[in-house]
């Protein structure tokens, strides 16, 4: 117990120096927490958006459709799958789609387009498309074939609401076909790339024009994201169609998240390394300053285990004294950011092109605070080893006489 007391009091022998180390810990830890929360908030929103507006949790395709991207490769067992999904309580909504790749043409511009034939009711339950509308109405009150286009696509086509572009694509025979449609609504998501190429159209109209029956994409939204892998496995076991989770159907997002995780790991490592080096440096100075005292302790009968433990404790105390404040400050910064949001509209265009929102709400799962605390403890112990080991190498007879 006295060892603990001595170690703790030793931390405060050089108050100024210890406070500097503590400050470094506070700044380092709170920065790490905020950085992680900021990035997590950004990606969490992007993932949520990608799932809710774009891919849903799970998608089913004909394997050949994924390979050749041709509309004729429809899902053979779509009806059975639809029935099965309708009975599954984990499934929130299902959208059976017929998708073709083609061009959107106006008198002034041509733009590549992904034309998505949807059941308008089903689609809205799955992607809340009507919630993204900025102008017009959701497939209602029109003559002709109504479509919803992204604001960006409309801008690229130099068209507005109620205008009539032409959609051109290959039919079942491989012949080019075209239909004249009417823009009844403009939508906007946080992903300008998505808005720049997706056109939503009633499914029957598209199927008739393409002379293809059936659907080639089933999008499934779940009640709980944690069921993704289980539902995927169960579905896959009963079908020859290709079942993919959102990570597989939007691989670029999964890669981006993976890259981001690795980058974060390196940043956190560098920050912690800098803090650890600061601690080691301070404690090595403490050992060098107290050579005579260490010599005396050994001379009067303090064994090496106790000397080692004393410096370990001292370093750990020094490290951990700042940690709770750093964690609290980090948590407070995250809470503030989460409440008021961080406006990044000055980078809005760049962020939007990657699917990120202009407003970031930092958040960090509670488990990450515990992981971080564990990491700090491990780093403190590792940092403590160097000065503690250094103290053991002293010879009491010479150390006592050291001036």
């Amino acid at each position: 117990m006295m060892l603990v007391q001595i170690a703790w009091r030793n931390v405060w022998r050089n108050r100024g120096r210890s406070l500097v180390v503590m400050m470094a810990m506070v700044v380092g830890i709170s920065s790490v927490i905020f950085l992680m929360a900021f990035s997590w908030g950004m990606y969490d929103y992007r993932i949520k958006e990608a799932i809710e507006k774009e891919s849903s949790h799970i998608q089913i395709h004909n394997p050949k459709y994924k390979e050749f991207m041709e509309a004729k490769f429809t899902i053979a067992d779509a009806n059975q799958l639809d029935q099965k999904l309708g009975k599954d309580s984990r499934v929130k909504a299902v959208s059976n789609r017929f998708v073709v790749m083609g061009m959107a043409l106006s008198s002034r511009s041509n733009v590549p387009a992904r034309i998505i034939g949807v059941d308008t009711l089903e689609e809205n339950k799955t992607t809340d498309l009507s919630g993204s509308l900025t102008e017009g109405e959701y497939f209602t009150g029109t003559k002709g074939i109504p479509v919803l286009v992204g604001e960006k696509l409309a801008k690229d086509l130099k068209l507005g609401l109620k205008k009539k572009p032409v959609l051109q694509f290959q039919d079942a025979n491989g012949d080019m076909t075209a239909i004249k449609v009417k823009i009844v609504g403009l939508y906007k998501t946080n992903n300008s790339m998505f808005d720049g190429m997706n056109v939503f159209i009633p499914k029957e109209a598209l199927q008739n024009a393409a002379k293809i029956k059936g659907v080639n994409e089933i999008a499934i939204l779940l009640n709980d994201a944690r069921d993704v892998d289980d539902v995927k496995t169960e579905l896959q076991s009963g079908t020859k169609s290709m079942v993919e989770t959102w990570k597989e159907s939007i691989p670029e997002l999964a890669i981006a998240i993976d890259t981001f995780d690795k980058t974060m790991f390196i940043i956190v490592l560098i920050l912690f390394l800098a803090v650890a080096i600061g601690i080691i440096n301070t404690m090595l100075m403490a050992v060098l300053e107290r050579v005579r005292e260490i010599g005396m302790l050994m001379a009067v009968g303090m064994n090496k285990d106790k000397v080692f433990s004393m410096f370990m404790l001292e370093t750990i105390f020094l490290s951990l004294a700042g940690a709770p404040i750093g964690i609290f400050l980090g948590w407070a910064l995250v809470a503030w950011g989460n409440h008021s949001g961080i406006n990044l509209s000055m980078y809005g265009e760049g962020l939007s092109s990657m699917g990120f929102s202009n407003m970031v709400y930092p958040s960090l799962p509670v488990k990450d605070y515990f992981i971080l605390t564990g990491e700090i403890i491990v780093i403190s112990i590792l940092a403590a080893l160097v000065p503690a080991y250094r103290s053991l190498r002293l010879n009491p007879a010479t150390a006592i006489r050291k001036i």
């Binding site: 001595i6 005292e293 009067v300 009968g301």
Partner: protein, 228 residues
């Protein structure tokens, strides 16, 4: 009964160019209850002799028997334990633990001996009383004078109930009043409690109070006088 015995004790420091014989075949017996000063000019081997009989340094050759045990053959850990239970140390620069109070400094040794709290407290207070510092028990070393710190160091040296106390130039940093006080205390403890004291010193005031004076020169004992 001899508490310290050396036989043909030698210590050679191998410097970069020349080997230095700090001790040269020293034969020495110190009996229980002695109040002995080891004197000699700088470099005569006083501190080396104290370090070796205190188990802080190794001899190059010869034997050292302390409290009936040959300490030259002990492992490092055994030697640390031996020092803890058998030898009290008083250093020239006091070397108290700066973050502990006077009482805690005295208790510290007993804590390492795993004595219970009540015994630690009672003995620490009784020793501080014996060195006249009962009222300073709660003060840290930085709040005490050099003489007071050295008296705490004496109390600490005695706390473990050692077989003998080795004091390396204990008065070197003290003024005459503090020196006189310290010597009075050590002499009283020696006479009343039979504690064996061995000093290395240059200080004539210590030499005058010692009952036995051993003079070293160039690593040899050149005189060994016991006063009547």
């Amino acid at each position: 009964m001899s508490v310290i015995k050396t036989h043909q004790l030698s210590k050679i420091y191998n410097g970069s160019a020349v080997a230095v014989h700090a001790l040269n075949k020293v034969d020495l017996h110190i009996e229980e209850g002695e109040f002995t000063a080891i004197v000699g000019p700088s470099g005569s081997g006083k501190t080396t002799l104290l370090n070796i009989i205190g188990g802080l340094d190794n001899a190059t050759s010869g034997d050292v028997e302390v409290a009936g045990k040959d300490i030259t053959r002990m492992s490092e850990n055994d030697l640390i334990d031996f020092r803890l239970h058998n030898i009290g140390f008083v250093f020239q620069a006091y070397n108290l633990i700066p973050v502990l109070t006077a009482q805690e400094n005295v208790e510290f040794i007993m804590l390492m001996q795993k004595r219970d709290k009540k015994e630690r407290h009672e003995r620490a207070m009784s020793l501080l009383k014996a060195v006249g510092l009962e009222s300073q028990a709660d003060k840290r070393p930085s709040q005490m004078s050099g003489g007071q710190q050295q008296r705490v160091a004496v109390a600490r040296a005695l706390a473990s109930r050692p077989r003998f106390v080795l004091a390396d130039e204990p008065t070197a940093n003290l003024d005459s009043v503090s020196t006189s006080n310290l010597l009075d205390i050590m002499a009283r403890l020696n006479q009343e409690e039979g504690t064996t004291f061995v000093f290395s010193t240059h200080d004539q005031r210590v030499i005058d109070r010692a009952r036995r004076v051993i003079t070293l020169e160039d690593g040899h004992i050149v005189s060994d006088e016991t006063k009547a």
